[in-house]
């Protein structure tokens, strides 16, 4: 399972970086989105995948169950997803605005405007 996820992470990274090299701004944004997905999946994988019980401390005993899953990576990923959602929404708005102003989604056109 870890190996499979590692391969998926690798594929996501390579596709993301490939898309970022494109002159088309939409592809640039898609590439950035894939990069952040890859990072999230990487956190998930590297923190260790185990089928544990919910990390909830019962009222008696005051200790977590011995096979409890680690909740921290999921908290991290959740935070990162929210952040990347906000940032990507801004990036989309930015790209749309510059498409309106410059009239093209080609990054090379952009340089010629100067």
């Amino acid at each position: 399972m870890t190996l499979l996820l590692a391969i998926v992470v690798g594929v996501l990274y390579s596709v993301g970086i490939y898309l970022m090299m494109d002159r088309n701004m939409i592809r640039l944004i898609l590439g950035l989105a894939l990069l952040s997905h890859a990072a999230n999946l990487l956190i998930f994988t590297s923190a260790g995948i185990a089928r544990g019980s919910p990390p909830i401390i019962s009222t008696e005993g005051n200790v977590a169950p011995p096979d409890a899953a680690d909740p921290v990576p999921q908290a991290l990923i959740l935070t990162a997803i929210v952040i990347s959602f906000g940032v990507l929404a801004f990036a989309m708005a930015l790209v749309y605005r510059s498409y309106e102003t410059i009239g093209s989604e080609d990054l090379d056109e952009m340089r010629n405007v100067e």
């Binding site: 990069l35 590297s46 680690d70 410059i102 405007v113």
Partner: protein, 499 residues
């Protein structure tokens, strides 16, 4: 009491930003709030520095969760100095922007964004948790993205796209590095990481993670080879915004490098810090050469930011007490000087309606005081005595000689000379030569004159003061450097408060 001091630099901008949002329709209230917020932030930062200087590093566990489980806010000398510098720049830019930012951007939400940016910067300086550092970076970036694109002129949008892309790339790398680090040792608290990483047997994977952090923060700090976004984007937004960015934002990246590579990754000094030293040399050279090819004031100054980042990294790469103190001294000097140079470039633009050197000229004849005001930070940047930049370079070069790193010392000296040439180029073109034939002449009148000139004069005064009494800044820098080399006090402040 000390807990409050740690929270204030984050809380004050947050409250101010909320207040500005509430008073969205009333520009005059927003203007007043922004000024008050900046002043309170500066005062709070000053008290924090005083407290840390007297009593050593302090920490507070947010929400009462003990370290390493909760999020810790922690301030040692380095953090406190950086927060004070942020307060000074915030204050200067807050005053300047009252006279310069303009009605349209003010009603688009300039003031709340400015405060959110300050909150992100202070949060990044004060957090003791590596994932929380990522979150503060994002807060800061989000505000800076919007400030950069605000107004949506063509040049601004072009700059913003490069800026956004590179910074998002760096964030993704940073996040991946945090993930691997967590998988390796199972903690995110930086002090805890420092202790636990000493017991990890494999140096290979630590070096790999260290390299990821170096790339991520290197992009944010605009170090070689990924610095090109900075000269492409910093000259495009309004002057107040670029002064704020030039003063603070890249230095947050440098701060993160200083923190991570003095606290966490010190297992393989020859690999990591050797690499940093090499990067430092290249950053210095490429920055200054890039500046040489430019003929627009803000582009020249932007390339010089890159080259100056190299000096700071040189201090980190040498990693001796004197070198680290030099790096911190250099950061402080650079923040004051670079903010000031951008502010003055804005004044020049107001007077002549252009940033392009060819269209300027004759300012010395009409505005001799402005010419002198420019010379102070410009010569300080180049490292002429008795200004702050001279001592900053002197300390670093002395540290380099002591460590026997003659190549990087030679590079630093030559780059200093080239910086002088480049500053003289601005001086000759903008102030000394005959005014260009088709130049416009404007005057800054009334209250605006005070608002835009005041901060520049105060910042220049600080540069001169540091030059005349360098121990004012050197003593705290030395103390901060000691705390960076001997992290036991920092770790104890974070971990020891467990009850």
């Amino acid at each position: 009491m000390s807990g409050i001091l740690l929270v204030l630099p984050i809380l004050v901008p947050l409250v101010t930003a909320s207040g500005c949002l509430v008073a969205w329709r009333y520009r005059s209230i927003q203007r007043a709030l922004s000024l008050v917020g900046a002043a309170v932030l500066l005062a709070a930062a000053g008290m924090l520095l005083w407290q840390v200087d007297r009593g050593g590093p302090i920490a507070v566990q947010v929400g009462g969760w003990p370290a390493p489980f909760g999020i810790t806010l922690v301030a040692d000398m380095l953090s406190a100095i950086m927060v004070v510098l942020a307060g000074i720049v915030g204050m200067a830019v807050a005053i300047y922007s009252l006279g310069d930012i303009g009605r349209r951007r003010e009603s688009l939400g300039y003031f709340p964004l400015f405060q959110v940016l300050m909150m992100g910067v202070c949060g990044a300086f004060l957090t003791g948790d590596i994932f929380n550092l990522y979150v503060w970076f994002e807060v800061m970036l989000m505000a800076s993205f919007t400030l950069m694109a605000m107004g949506a002129q063509k040049a601004q949008l072009q700059g913003a796209i490069k800026y956004v892309t590179l910074n998002l790339l760096s964030s993704a790398i940073f996040l991946a590095a945090i993930g691997i680090l967590y998988g390796l040792v199972g903690t995110l608290n930086m002090a805890d990481l420092a202790t636990k990483l000493r017991n990890v047997p494999e140096p290979g994977i630590i070096n790999a993670v260290a390299a990821l952090f170096l790339v991520a923060f290197g992009i944010k700090a605009a170090a070689f080879p990924l610095f090109f976004w900075l000269p492409a984007s910093y000259p495009t937004p309004p002057v107040a915004v670029s002064a704020l960015f030039a003063g603070l934002l890249t230095k947050v990246g440098v701060y993160a490098l200083l923190r991570v590579f003095s606290l966490i990754f010190i297992q393989n000094l020859s690999v990591t810090h050797g690499l940093i030293l090499a990067i430092a040399s290249f950053t210095m050279v490429f920055g200054v050469l890039g500046a040489y090819a430019q003929n627009e004031i803000r582009r020249i100054l932007s390339f010089h930011i890159v080259s100056q980042i190299g000096y700071m990294l040189m201090g980190l790469g040498l990693f001796t007490r004197l070198a680290l103190a030099g790096a911190i001294f250099y950061i402080a000097h650079h923040i004051l000087v670079k903010t000031n140079l951008f502010l003055i470039s804005g004044i020049i633009h107001r007077l002549r309606g252009s940033f392009t050197l060819a269209q300027l000229g004759g300012l010395y004849r009409t505005h001799p005081w402005l010419a002198l005001l420019f010379l102070v930070p410009a010569l300080s940047l180049a490292g002429l005595p008795p200004l702050s930049g001279f001592f900053a370079k002197l300390i670093l070069i002395q540290a380099g000689l002591e460590a026997g790193m003659y190549t990087v010392v030679a590079v630093a000296l030559i780059v200093g000379l080239l910086t002088l040439l480049s500053m003289l180029k601005i001086w000759n073109e903008a102030f000394w030569k005959q005014a260009a034939a088709n130049s416009h002449e404007h005057e800054i009148t009334g209250r605006q004159r005070f608002l835009v000139l005041g901060p520049a004069i105060v910042l220049a005064g600080m540069t001169i003061c540091i030059g005349l009494w360098p121990s004012l800044l050197l003593d705290p820098s030395m103390k901060a450097a000691e705390q960076l080399l001997d992290t036991s006090a920092y770790i104890k402040a974070v971990m020891g408060v467990r009850s």
